[in-house]
Symmetry: C2
Subunit: 345 residues, 2 copies
């Protein structure tokens, strides 16, 4: 390890090991939790989260929706902290999940507190088992990836996604799913290597005054998380979009000064996302494609299942955001104005 | 009516009459629907929508959450159209609402279709009672505000919000709520007048290269809708934020080239939103405040109840967006690249 390596770079590079540890250390606990839940039957799920964890919540929405057919509500920001609305699911089989690496976001704690009062089962996914969120929840799944020193979240983000993926594999009790999840650390290891090798060839895009990251379906979470990383680390206006929404109107604000980060992982969303990439290039945007195969600017490993692709496809975006920030001479580990906990009181 | 007045301006000015008609013509139908629903008990609500209607859905999330304690899931874009996930609520007392002025957004129709198959009651809020959305729904509430000729939605947006407000007043069977709803057309009439009178004094902000619209709680929907109008009509990068989220990180991208539209309506969110306005000004942003009282740049009528304020507070933003587009010499009624129906197949 270089003495001058930033915490951010170390934490990005740690991800294969961190995720392997999540799978090893949490597998049994999640399996046990899932066995108890399976008896509960299908209901509504609410997920409360903020910041990067809110993008993990968006992954949960697609994951629980597509793999299990469950409707997922993302808790509205401030509805508990400002209005004390107690607007949580309270039916048979319902579940409330809080995701917060610090476990100290008052909005997220407030939603779980309301659920506990309503008698709805709660589970906390957090990197701090002593946090207020952990204390209020019926069940706690600790990420256990060690302290995250950089303010911008990376390993806690992918670890939260890994916990969700294991949870769904266990809820489905699907042997194939379980096997696919075990491949994730190796896939992330490959993409860390290939992204660092490729990123320095792309840095003509460093002059962009505006960034859009686009995807659809599962990787909408990835596009939003990559946009958030670029925004946090470089202070550039960076937005994540569903390609379907972007084409409907917002693309009008895309110009030759726009960098378009296109997440075209394998699967049902790919064709529609690549079509959007063409439309972005037609408007003069500089595009960087994260996708399978050698034609991509930041290549993904072959044969990543679509439902797990957000764990892999976000990594090239983390590395691109970091390099752009380095080129701009920013403080990588503690960007101006960025705080680790979203306080909303 | 001026022969050269745009459809957009006519439709903005029509809103007091249009909303009065919504209340007159839909009141009984909504009351009947609500009486049938009240017996069903509390459950989960899913709302499916796209574009401007998605901002109406966000209002529904706060409205049903704060007034009725109901958890509301906003349907994930593409989960039905891309993955055929059928991820809809299917418990006792659950409800699925589709909002689409055209009634032809395939994503929205797909969610209601899935709900019908699951046996979950559905209601469509649409401006076209013959649309695919109306045909698939168990109940239909037609806006009845006449054809919207401008591509950017204005009167169909406020009419959708009015339907939701009446629905909640009826579900609560609250006499006070019903009385407050009846004041909306007059309040919108006042704000149309005061906004047109004030807007031309604000047009130094026309040179902004970036717009953020901020609010919190109920008016998060308003901030997002104002940002969408400015983006659609002027092709400027315009983003809506919860003030809590903005302060946590994204504010780093705010500079002297940023126009900040601050929605500081009366109520619990006001103090926190005004604090954010200070932080935006500290970063050199040019701010336009929509708020109660004479100190606001675009004043709101006095004593608008917080739960109804999104119907009133969006109007100054519509008018600001229109004037900015006129100054930029844009096609007001059919902006380049904008389409009326979000097609996602």
């Amino acid at each position: 390890v270089s003495a001058t390596r930033s915490h951010l770079e170390s934490e990005i590079r740690e991800q294969p090991d961190a995720i392997a540890r999540v799978l090893d250390e949490n597998g049994d606990r999640i399996a046990k939790f899932a066995r108890a839940r399976r008896a509960g039957g299908p209901g509504c799920v609410m997920v409360a989260a903020r910041g990067s964890s809110d993008n993990a919540a968006r992954y949960a929405q697609y994951l629980l929706g597509e793999r299990l057919g469950l409707p997922v509500a993302l808790a509205a920001p401030s509805l508990e902290s400002l209005h004390r609305a107690r607007a949580v699911p309270r039916g048979e089989g319902d579940l409330v999940i809080g995701i917060s690496q610090s476990g100290r976001s008052p909005d997220v704690v407030g939603v779980l507190d309301a659920a506990r009062d309503a008698g709805t089962p709660t589970v906390a996914i957090t990197n701090d088992g002593d946090s207020p969120l952990a204390r209020v929840a019926d069940d706690v799944i600790e990420l256990g990836v060690g302290v995250e020193r950089a303010v911008a979240a990376t390993k806690t983000y992918t670890a939260s996604l890994a916990v969700l993926a294991v949870l769904v594999a266990e809820l489905r009790a699907d042997h194939g799913d379980r096997g696919e999840v075990q491949r994730i650390p190796s896939l992330i290891g490959q993409v860390v290597q290939s992204s660092f090798a490729a990123v320095d060839g792309l840095l003509e895009c460093a002059s962009a005054s505006h960034v859009v990251a686009v995807a659809r379906g599962y990787n909408l979470a990835t596009a939003m998380e990559i946009a958030l990383k670029i925004r946090e680390l470089t202070a550039t206006v960076a937005e994540g979009f569903s390609s379907a929404d972007l084409l409907h109107g917002p693309i009008a604000a895309v110009t030759t000064g726009t960098l378009a980060v296109v997440v075209a992982a394998r699967g049902k969303a790919r064709a529609s996302v690549l079509e959007t990439a063409d439309a972005l290039r037609d408007r003069g945007a500089h595009s960087v494609v994260i996708g399978e195969g050698p034609s991509a600017d930041l290549p993904l490993p072959l044969d990543v299942p679509e439902w797990l692709s957000p764990l892999v496809a976000v990594v090239p975006g983390q590395i691109l955001a970091m390099r752009l920030a380095e080129l701009a001479g920013r403080d990588i580990d503690a960007p101006a104005g960025l705080t680790k906990v979203t306080e909303t009181y």
